[in-house]
Amino acid sequence: MTPRLIIVSGKGGVGKTTIAHALTKSLRAEGYKAFYTSFDQSCPPEILTDGTPRFITSPEESSEIYIGLKLNSPLLAKWVMKAPFFKALFQVLPPLGHMILLGHYIKELEDNPDHYIVIDSPASGHAMSMISSLNNFKEIFKLGVLVDDINRMNSFLKKEGNTRVIISSIPTEMSVEEGLDLKKFFIKKGIENTELIINNSLNNSEVKDSKAPLAMKKLEIEKEILERYFEKEVRLIPQVFSHDTKEILKKISPSIKGILSEG
């Protein structure tokens, strides 16, 4: 079963955007109505220009829509969100906006049973804040419609087959350790379908074939790290030597397809 919501996370510089982009395109190619989303208001230019369907909204916009639904009046919501105090509150507490935004994505999926969303999630620490905010705000609000909504979000995220988390890592010790930590975190939060993958792998890449001394040194480190941290085989996405997004996507596409077919 193809997950409805795919969250791509990992520390900075591990290729989250490229993988989320490739996953969206791969799903589209197989006929799914998939959308790329991010928690940044700005959409990476390579995604804007190649016409990948996206679902982008800002936490502020999303909050206004949400409050409008709750108060039965979009006009009132506009007024509430304009109040300097609430504006400041959302700025001081970014996870509040992120949580509402995540709720927005989930509602979109609930309302449209044929839609699929790939989230280019913020880097690890902020991804953890976003997921933690579900329980944190539930504890803060205790009861009421907000808690009902948080419960709904939680049960969507945890329902078997709904959510898949892909944690990208590069073959360095720090990156892998952080990736494993993040994986543990998601599983602890009840999202079992979480997989760590290795991006920018030199195995099966052109570098390996070149036999250049530098490549061999790097490959040696990669091997050492993979042996130390993984008992079972881990999914590898090859490093592509190009700055052309189109070419990169084309070359990693076979390994991306593998991510979707399993898990």
Binding site: G13, K70, A83, S129, F241
Partner: protein, 334 residues
């Protein structure tokens, strides 16, 4: 012998460029010169502990670090510990505040600024090395003081204080109530109550009240802002690698960090390949050639750009162990 030192050295840059490792090597380098150094990381994922082998439960406490006989202090940020250290009356502890100060509660950037300012004021260190969150989150960190200032907007706080404790002076009560009605805050709270329940609104008002009573601690962030504006005693290190996307992000950060003055900034280009360790066969291999050419192009760009006071190159290191990375990088600071 003590070299030229800055009271504060800030490391920022995009994710995955080796910011934390470079910051650690800098701390080690300065400490080896005889300076008393504190290394602070506010990165919420606390990567520093991997490099420094710090135990999981040491967040929020200053620890002695020993790296190949060089000793310095290190602190992993913990919002909760910083909040506790402020000395806010325990009785006034509030459920909402307690939850927000948790590791992933979302107050990291703001509490970090307060911590750095407290450490600067303590005057205990010759140099404080600050490792910041990656990319755009660094800008969040810089803007935290502005957010605090806005949050403590006077008129709103007065109103909350009144609503929370009903302890406004008798003569001013009427006036304040008029303000509440005209500002629409009472109405706002009625709407809030509809969505969240009365219990929450009461705890919420209490939380605002506690924050307000202790606002002088939070307003320390503004002193930090002033320090960056007026003092010449700090240095920024912008860390980049030789990847095109990282370079773009560095330029983006430089443009948006309005508190960042060019005179204080040094660009560090990390993970450079062509620093004397390549072999002849490397220059023949197509993919490696691709990297070398890209590196040349980017170094050239930085060389010509007027965005930074100066730039330094650091080598790519072929070791799995982060400690060895720190060691190799330390030598390049000379």
């Amino acid at each position: 012998m003590k070299g030229k030192n800055y009271k504060l050295e800030i490391f920022c840059g995009t994710g995955g460029v080796g910011k934390t490792t470079l910051a650690t090597s800098r701390a080690k380098h300065l400490s080896a010169q005889g300076l008393k150094v504190l290394l602070i990381t506010i990165d919420p994922s606390l990567r520093l502990k991997q490099v420094l082998n710090l135990a999981d439960n040491s967040a929020g406490q200053v620890r002695k670090v020993n790296l190949a006989t060089v000793e310095f202090d290190a602190l992993l940020m913990s919002s909760q510990k910083t909040f506790d250290r402020l000395g806010i009356d325990k009785e006034k502890n509030n459920k909402i505040l307690e939850i927000l100060m948790r590791p992933n509660g979302g107050m990291n950037e703001i509490m970090a600024i307060i911590e750095v300012q407290s450490q600067l004021e303590s005057n205990e260190y010759d140099s404080i090395i600050l490792d910041t969150p990656p990319g755009k989150h660094f800008l969040d960190f810089l803007n935290a003081s502005k957010k605090i200032d806005r949050f403590f907007d006077k008129s709103y706080i007065e109103i909350f204080k009144f609503l929370g404790k009903n302890s406004a002076p008798k003569s001013g009560g009427k006036k304040l109530f008029g303000k509440i009605v005209s500002s629409g805050i009472k109405k706002l709270l009625t709407y809030l109550e509809k969505v969240t329940g009365k219990d929450f609104v009461e705890t919420f008002i209490d939380a605002i009240y506690v924050l307000h009573q202790n606002k002088h601690y939070f307003l320390k962030a503004l002193t930090f802002q002033r320090f960056l504006k007026e003092s010449n005693n700090y240095q920024w290190f912008l860390v980049s690698s030789t990847e095109q996307s990282k370079v773009k992000e560095i330029i983006e950060i430089t443009k948006n960090a309005t508190h960042l003055s060019k005179e204080h900034s040094v660009l560090l280009v990390n993970k450079c390949l062509d620093m004397g360790t390549l072999e002849e066969d490397d220059f023949e291999a197509t993919p490696v050639k691709y990297f070398i050419e890209r590196e040349k192009r980017i170094i050239n760009f930085f060389d010509q750009s007027k965005l930074f006071r100066k730039f330094l190159k650091f080598p790519d290191i072929y070791e799995a162990d982060p400690k060895k990375h720190v060691e190799s990088l330390t030598n390049h600071w000379d």
